[in-house]
């Protein structure tokens, strides 16, 4: 120990950093303006719990979102947040991650934001496999623009743009994601089983790579009855469990008795499970830790000093320089 009572040694400093502890309240900001009973509230609670449990430094954590009800989430987090434009949360998050790989990056997006206007970015984000967690808040409807059919709306759904029922089969975000090269983590969960919601988001956070979590979420305002059959009948939820996946607690297992032991490394079975609409599979469908992350492939980790830039620039200048003396440096 140093002689002065007030001085702190570097290692002590480090210790302090690691010991920094935050309560759930430290991650909370403002009062969420979602409707009563909105599934977004459950997702927010799970995220705030995750931040506390993982001891994430609020200043080193960034929540990126697009536009829609779900995308308001960063405003309720006392971390850094980026509430951008419709459909473009993923490329923004990728830019953040490439510039600053040391930051923890989360993306909150909705079925309109991700599966419709931002669909191109979704496919490519899976392929880039950057280390971040994406939560697809899928309520199967456009909420903020007041009830239009979304790509994940079930066929026949009556909405303001489909008054006689929607015309097309719903897009299945799980099968799409599992079909993309470099896919490394796919999970599904429902907003009304908070414990599993937390477990899955936590597993997604711990996965090194792009974690895709589809959260089936209720919209009490526009589709209050849509998920009721599933809510009332636990048999219509298929609990995936595995020692490498999610372990179901006895309390949950008591209610949700329909279970399947599924090894998340089994892609073929994952694709079969993913195609099930009813029952709703919850848990980790697929995980592969071996897929390289784009930021690791692209960044060489060298410190960009002024002399490095100068050296590189002069070498480039040399390629194009006409020297006054032909015998000179060429």
């Amino acid at each position: 120990m140093m002689d002065s009572g007030h001085s702190i040694s570097p290692s002590e400093c480090l210790l302090r950093m690691y010991e920094e502890h935050h309560e759930i309240e430290d991650y909370q900001k403002g009062v969420p303006r979602w409707c009563t009973g909105c599934g977004d509230n459950a997702i927010l609670a799970a995220i705030q719990r995750l931040c506390r449990d993982e001891g994430l430094l609020p200043e080193k954590t960034v929540f990126v979102s697009g536009i829609g009800c779900s995308s308001r989430l960063p405003h309720y987090m006392n971390t850094y947040g980026f509430h951008g434009i419709h459909g473009r949360a993923l490329p923004v998050a990728e830019g953040v991650k490439l510039a600053r790989p040391e930051l923890s990056v989360f993306v909150n997006t909705g079925d309109g934001d991700c599966c419709s206007i931002g669909a191109a970015h979704w496919i490519h984000a899976v392929r880039y496999n950057m280390n971040m967690t994406m939560m697809l808040h899928d309520n199967q409807i456009y909420g903020l623009t007041k009830m239009q059919a979304s790509p994940t709306s079930p066929i026949g759904l009556k909405s303001n743009t489909t008054p006689r029922g929607s015309y097309l089969e719903a897009l299945n975000p799980l099968t799409v994601t599992l079909g993309i090269s470099n896919v490394s983590f796919v999970a599904q969960v429902v907003d009304w089983i908070p414990e599993v919601l937390y477990q899955v988001i936590s597993a997604a956070y711990h996965h090194k790579g792009f974690s895709f979590v589809r959260i089936i979420q209720r919209c009490p305002e526009w589709l209050p009855k849509l998920m009721e059959p599933w809510l009332h009948d636990p048999q219509r939820v298929l609990m995936l469990h595995h020692e490498d996946g999610v372990e179901i607690s006895p309390a949950v297992a008591k209610v949700y008795t329909r279970m399947e032991e599924h090894d998340p490394s089994d892609m073929n079975r994952a694709r079969e499970i993913a195609s099930s609409i009813d029952p709703i599979p919850t848990g980790i469908l697929y995980r592969n830790e071996e897929v390289p992350c784009y930021e690791d492939v692209r960044l060489d980790g060298r410190l960009r000093t002024a002399s490095l830039v100068k050296q590189g620039l002069e070498a480039e200048f040399d390629k194009f320089t006409v020297w006054p003396d032909a015998s000179g440096q060429a």
């Binding site: 405003h75 490329p91 830019g95 191109a120 830039v309 100068k310 002069e314 320089t321 060429a330």
Partner: protein, 630 residues
Amino acid sequence: MALDESNKNEESRVNGAAGKATILKEHIVEIISDSGEGAQKCGQSFGAIVARMGIGVWTVEIIPAEIRPPARSVAGASGNRIRIGSDQVTNGGDETDLVVAFNEQVLLGRIHSKELKQGCAILLESMWREDKDPKVAKSYAEACEHLIAAGYKVFEIPMEEECLKIVPDPRRGKNMFVLGMLCSAYSLDLQIAREQIALTFAKKSEKVVKANVELLEAGYEWADKNLDLKFEIPAEKSSTPQIVVNGNTALALGVLASGMEICAMYPITPATSASHYLSDAFESVGGVVHQAEDEIAACAFAIGASYAGKCTVTITSGPGYSLKQEAIGLAVMGEIPLVVVNVMRGGPSTGQPTKTEQGDLMTTIFGSHGDAPKVVIAPGTIEECFYSVITARKIAETFNMVVVILTDANLATSQQPFKRPEFDEAWLAPPIDQSAVPEGAKPYDWHPETGLARRFIPGQPGGMHTLTGLAHDVHSHVAYDPEINQQGMRARSLKLAALQKSLRPPEVVGDREGELLVVGWGSTKGAIEEAVARLRDEGRKVSSMHFAFLSPLPPGIKEVLGGFEKVLAIENNWSDDPDDEIIDESNRRYTALATLLRSRYLVDVDCWSECRGTPLKPSTVRHLILEKLK
């Protein structure tokens, strides 16, 4: 179009080392072939050789719209146009004086587009005369006959036959034979040419270099013996090292020098070559070129990286710029520094992808919905392309603004030597601020007079806030309060005024008073200044002023405009012809700069413009100024 020959070439005959050489003040040479026959490489090498000899040079690429247009097609000319002169050359000049063509069809295409001087010298591959296909032979013979009748000096040259003596496949090597002929015709130093070939083929084997040198020498000897063309452009070698690159490479070098670390882009002509070069060079200094899935993603990616503390550039052209507009608005609203390069091409829509135009000024300044103030700068020379990126990043980070650099296909594909820059550490970005934010500090603590606010970057303890594209207050909280919206709009606008206060008025070339002031911006600088200089030499009271800052416009402009009887904007974009029958003052659409100046300064700025897809010619500019002076 009236051609001006009055003081261009003072021709005189002297006895050079290799016989009689005509001394020229300047000349324009063109080398054209089918795509893939190497005319571009020949032209680039020729440009580099003359530059090494201290001869002023401006080269322009001739690019067909397709990658592999059909062989021997009128629209398929690929190659280079090189203007050389005793003094510094600042633009592509007027019509071509001497053209080397690998077939008569590409040549006819150039004549059709009025790029060749009436009666100019034509060095034409003669193998087609004996072609197995009678149609080809006939077409060649007819073209020759027609050209000779029209007064062109046609030299039929058995290039293929001569090259076959050295290489089995003349398609790969004819270009170096042609380079040799040109070295002879322009009395260039053969040793410098040999060195240039070694540089051009540096990545190839020694055998390839040797074969190309042999072809060069063969071409040189053949021309010495058989060609009655001998010119000389006297020039003094520069005493300082010069860089010879095109505008896109200069931009990419600027990105490197600016200290930026990330470039996010999506392929688009004619911007892509900047990213090609950068992809190769950037990694040596730890930079990354991210090829995004689309233009919007490229812009959003750049915004994300900039937000996280590393000011990023995205490089595009018109259609891509249109796609980025919403994201650019987000950067304006969130006050995220961002550099956007728009290498303009012909528009609207897909327009003319490989051709030059200055059609995007208005969309750049006023684009993105709502009021989205941003900085717009336009380099006028290749050298300015380099420095503009360094300036752009500095402004972007100082003012937390979007800075758009407007270049065009003309600058992108033209080469002009400039003084090798001396590296300055001040070009680079400072390290990312990770210090704790003082208690009570606000993310948008807009300065009441300048609108400026200190930005909080992820990682800064205490600075946590959610950046939003929604209207927001000083805390970055979403706010629909009418007063708060006014406050934010005001702050973002004031930043432009604050920047404007720090700018200098543009330089007036010529007297500050006179009959006519010509104003322009961007790539037309060289052509306008050359034309105006010619007219001043002829005793006309004409001056010019070229804008590099378009948003904000620099101070002191009104005073300059007031010194002239007439002001004329000359641009490479659309404006109505006031002589068209239904055009009058109530409906005439002016050029972009004229519109800006008229609305801002209430000065009756006249304009002239064209959208031919080609760079403005000094002779055209001179001619139309004379018309306006009548």
